[in-house]
Amino acid sequence: EAGVAQSPRYKIIEKRQSVAFWCNPISGHATLYWYQQILGQGPKLLIQFQNNGVVDDSQLPKDRFSAERLKGVDSTLKIQPAKLEDSAVYLCASSFTDMNTEAFFGQGTRLTVV
């Protein structure tokens, strides 16, 4: 079974530039998550999708971050404009809708803002 795919693996941008990350979840997983993992910390949820609808985006800095999941499969996370403090690993995860199931994580995109 293919896992969660993310691209790119690494990205370096200057502050105030924009950047986008892509995620392809495991086939059949209706729920998709984006997490931000700052160095030395655990992952923190940014947004949760159920199919193509947003379930929870309470922790997403909406003035600069946006995410979409068109057609309920792939998802993109965008940052515009980027700040130095956005340097982090952005992890995508997916799970079945069923309650008793965990999330499966991709390898992440490491973003460095200089």
């Binding site: 969660v4 729920t31 998550y33 030395g40 910390q41 655990g42 992952p43 923190k44 949820l45 949760q48 379930v55 929870d56 992890l91 995860a93 997916s94 799970s95 809708t97 309650m99 008793n100 199931t101 965990e102 999330a103 499966f104 994580f105 991709g106 390898q107 992440g108 490491r110």
Partner: protein, 115 residues
């Protein structure tokens, strides 16, 4: 709001020695509980999970964890550590109210293994 505390930021053990990583959580009811491992440059790999039932949970790579409701703890153990176990370990609480995949993570414990 739920939270997870991993009191040990860094632990060093000798290869072959036993290991225990501590995890304490705050949650209003019986939680979903997870342990993940993350190697440098890699994503999170699930070691084990607790949803209900037997409070002693067996996972992959010889790890186990015990859910203790009275202590709000879910400590990870391994009887004999291998050099390949060196990594960062995260404990997480899943949201039983909505979906187990939506989790709150601790800040991790870095494990170093001495030869």
């Amino acid at each position: 709001a739920q939270s997870v505390t991993q009191p040990d930021i860094h632990i060093t053990v000798s290869e072959g020695a036993s290991l225990e990583l501590r995890c304490n959580y705050s949650y209003g009811a019986t939680p979903y509980l997870f342990w993940y491992v993350q190697s440098p440059g890699q994503g999170l790999q699930l070691l084990l999970k607790y949803f209900s039932g037997d409070t002693l949970v067996q996972g992959i790579k010889g790890f186990e964890a015990e859910f203790k409701r009275s202590q709000s703890s879910f400590n990870l153990r391994k009887p004999s550590v291998h050099w390949s176990d060196a990594a960062e370990y995260f404990c997480a609480v899943g949201d039983r109210g909505t979906n187990a995949g939506k989790s709150t993570f601790g800040d991790g414990t870095t494990l170093t293994v001495k030869p």
